[in-house]
Symmetry: C2
Subunit: 374 residues, 2 copies
């Protein structure tokens, strides 16, 4: 069995890590394009910190703040054109998964001409603009992966660009940017990270490194869940102290390192349809499906499921399902027609081939149905 | 607290991983210098596999096989001159720690002119020859670190070059090259890896990533110890099956990733004198000292020591000491004069500043004395 490890991003963690390492931007280039969404990076202070750091080392910059949730192909081409027209030679992405995923595609498209038809081919010249990434949610792990996931309207789903070129050069992890996230966003993004760690252990490419990181990530997340449930119950908006926020950000980073090695599994491939067609937020979509998939694994490979459940101090997958149910609250409606359509799409994805326990189309239909049973 | 993660080496693990990835050598350069010791790489088949792979992709190569155990500064300058004279543009190091450490220094010195007085300064031009590393022992972890440790006769110790330039580009981990190592070499190199993982957890730079990897590494090693003791008792030469050899090689790789983040502690700084002056093998030197240092930590920070001991299923450091005693057998003699001399040297090293529990010179003297008590 051949196994690989590669994750070349330089990760810097801690309070004020951008201000304390502003000289690193000099190593990336002479003119920055800040890629972000319309609002959150301004609200949480991350964009201001990046601007201040760039100004302190005399690097001019532009801002492309048009990245929407689940960014489209058109959006990243627009950003790349803007970068090229203004001769930005490195990218700083600030935000949750959407600005980071867009930032990677923009860094690639600004360095070379790639036709839309070849965007997901993986065949690129070996060049890309250097990237510094600042996650402002704790979920996606995109700051340490080689994936850029874009909304692909032609394929009616989310599609990944996967290339080692897309690993950010530097990631700055400062938990204070996640401090004011509301409880719902906190839960959904946390579940995304949890899903990465669990799916990593269920991947055919799981290795000793990815498992070591996944176990720690899962444990850190599970330790934060009681306070999450408490906050959900009490309706408090700001939930956590900084120490917990740091735990969640680090858990998300570890889970990102995991999927950089393993890729994701059936859960993500099924979840993409829920996001594309039913506008269910990505982390929530994974959370809705993760319990049923682990139950399937428990039937076919009880030892594998057991190793994951053990890290959570659970003895059976049903307990994990119950925990997810509490975190996710009331479930959406889904029709048999929708289930058939989404299952047909999911079974064709490479994520299914990446599973240790490969579900059949029938399994996927059953999982969708059970996942939405109230 | 600022924390960092960086380890950009591409690691490829598995049986026949060199033959199955020979095209990767093309990405490194046009003419290879193989750096190795006089014999072992020939005996274990690694050099033959590298030659075959290079020939299959039409890359010419030369061999520098003059690396001795604990390589000297003179040795790496000789290797670099040989590389430059022959216009080798990348380095393949094959062996235990010695050829790998030498290979890194040669890659650096062949890319730029560095006077001997500046060799350990850390101030280099940002260039180095690309490197592919093939470990043939499971202990040093050098294939995934930025350290090149050389015998420094002027300073009468071993001194590290530490630079991010020294991370190998690629590491090939194939456990079959470790299959015929004798039990004593297996034990000493394993203890070196164990020491890296434990010291990583005792380092002031320990992080969530390094701890996750260290815990897994320690557990994998401890799982192999009963068979090691059995082999030691029965006097058998070839001890392990391939699965165990793989476990040890992966544990050593993980422990290398750990010290790439954390550096080493008091144990390594004390051990260098034992190797330099008393010719005690590096892994054995660490093993002799590790138990007493963990006992000191247990006194000052019981929780920290407890977390490490827990991963080994021990409740106190004395149990770990007993295990090491069994693995190490009869101990060398050491005089009070030697202890005073080595302690004076150790207290000045940066490894001491890197400890969570910083020993005083008096502590170091006591640890040396207790470590050699029969």
């Amino acid at each position: 069995m051949m196994n690989k490890y590669y994750m070349p991003t330089r990760v810097i963690m801690g309070n004020d890590c951008i201000a304390m390492n502003s000289e690193l931007f000099i190593t990336l280039g002479k003119k920055a394009l800040i890629v972000t969404g319309a609002q959150s990076a301004k609200r949480n202070g991350a964009e201001k910190d990046v601007r201040t750091a760039l100004e302190s080392v005399g690097i001019p910059y532009l801002v492309f703040d048009k990245v929407m949730s689940n960014p489209t192909i058109a959006c990243v081409y627009e950003g790349a054109t803007f970068a090229k027209e203004n001769r930005a030679d490195f990218i700083i992405a600030i935000g949750g998964g959407s600005p980071m995923d867009a930032g990677k595609a923009i860094a690639l498209l600004a360095s070379q001409d790639i036709m839309e038809g070849s965007l997901f081919s993986g065949n690129y010249e070996k060049k890309v603009l250097p990237m510094a990434f600042v996650p402002t949610t704790a979920g996606t792990g995109s700051e340490v992966t080689q994936y850029s996931i874009l909304t692909n309207n032609k394929a009616q789903t989310k599609t990944s660009i996967a290339s080692d070129l897309l690993f950010p050069t530097i990631a700055f992890l400062d938990a204070k940017y996640t401090e004011h996230l509301g409880i719902i966003t906190t839960i959904y993004t946390t579940i995304d990270a949890l899903s990465h760690a669990v799916e990593g252990m269920l991947s055919a490419r799981a290795s000793i490194v990815s498992d070591a990181l996944a176990v720690t990530s899962i444990q850190m997340i599970i330790n934060c869940v009681p306070d999450m449930l408490q906050a959900l119950k009490s309706g408090s908006k700001v939930v956590f102290n900084m120490k917990q926020r740091e735990q969640l950000l680090q858990a998300s980073f570890l889970a990102g390192m995991v999927i950089a090695q393993t890729g994701t599994t059936a859960v993500h491939s099924m979840g993409y349809s829920l996001t594309y067609f039913k506008n269910i937020e990505h982390g929530r979509a994974n959370g809705l499906l993760l319990g049923e998939y682990l139950k399937l694994v428990e039937k076919v490979q009880p030892d594998l499921a057991g190793r994951i459940l053990e890290t959570m101090n659970f003895s059976e997958a049903e307990q994990f399902q119950e925990l997810l149910n509490k975190l996710l609250g009331e479930k959406e409606e889904i029709s048999s027609e929708e289930i058939r359509q989404y299952s047909k799409m999911a079974i064709q994805t490479k994520n299914i081939a990446n599973c240790v326990v490969k579900p059949t189309e029938e399994d996927i239909i059953t999982m969708f149905a059970l996942s939405f049973t109230k």
